[in-house]
Symmetry: C2
Subunit: 106 residues, 2 copies
């Protein structure tokens, strides 16, 4: 799939992956894989960006002697998803413009 098309979905998709229960890097990648493949470097960049934007919080926990960082969505993160849903209306309008479906003959 076109990389550019993914861009707007990535952030919100990661937020969606942790929205139902806290998750960690490796699991997020696995959960997203059926929908959207992303590399580790990409994910950790996104996670840091979302943390800086206060859309999620991080908590370290040990699991089988290995460190795991659990990510938890904040209200601001949920708000981001809600905004995405709003934006989607505009996206669909653009989609119809591109595919020439039910155009009002401008």
């Amino acid at each position: 799939m076109d990389i550019q098309l993914k861009r707007g979905l990535l952030d919100v998709c990661v937020l969606a992956a942790i929205s139902e229960e806290d998750s960690y890097g490796y699991k997020i990648i696995k959960d997203m894989k059926p929908y959207l493949v992303l590399s580790e470097s990409t994910l950790y960049t996104i996670l840091k960006r979302l943390e800086a934007a206060h859309m999620l919080t991080v908590r370290s926990a040990e699991h089988d002697g290995r460190l795991r960082k659990y990510y938890h969505i904040t209200p601001e993160g949920s708000k981001r998803i809600a905004e995405f849903k709003e934006d989607w209306k505009e996206i669909m309008a653009i989609y119809r413009f591109v595919t020439k479906e039910e155009q009002p003959h401008a």
Copy 2:
């Protein structure tokens, strides 16, 4: 609207704007405005990129003593739009993942 979300739409949207009849820079921006606002610098970058990718051809013509560059979509450009439609199925799957609509309980 989120800039990132626009990214995947921009190229294909410009192609759509010239798909029914040849058009030129200023008109493309005007035609797209109801759906997607983009600056001139962005558009000319995109037009050059699409030309380099052989998705459109350019032809200069004089209009009222002023130069105009008319852009014409190629079969490859049309193919790009068709591919976009295909990609859209995946995009919708991601949308459902994000909005948790009819998830098959993974």
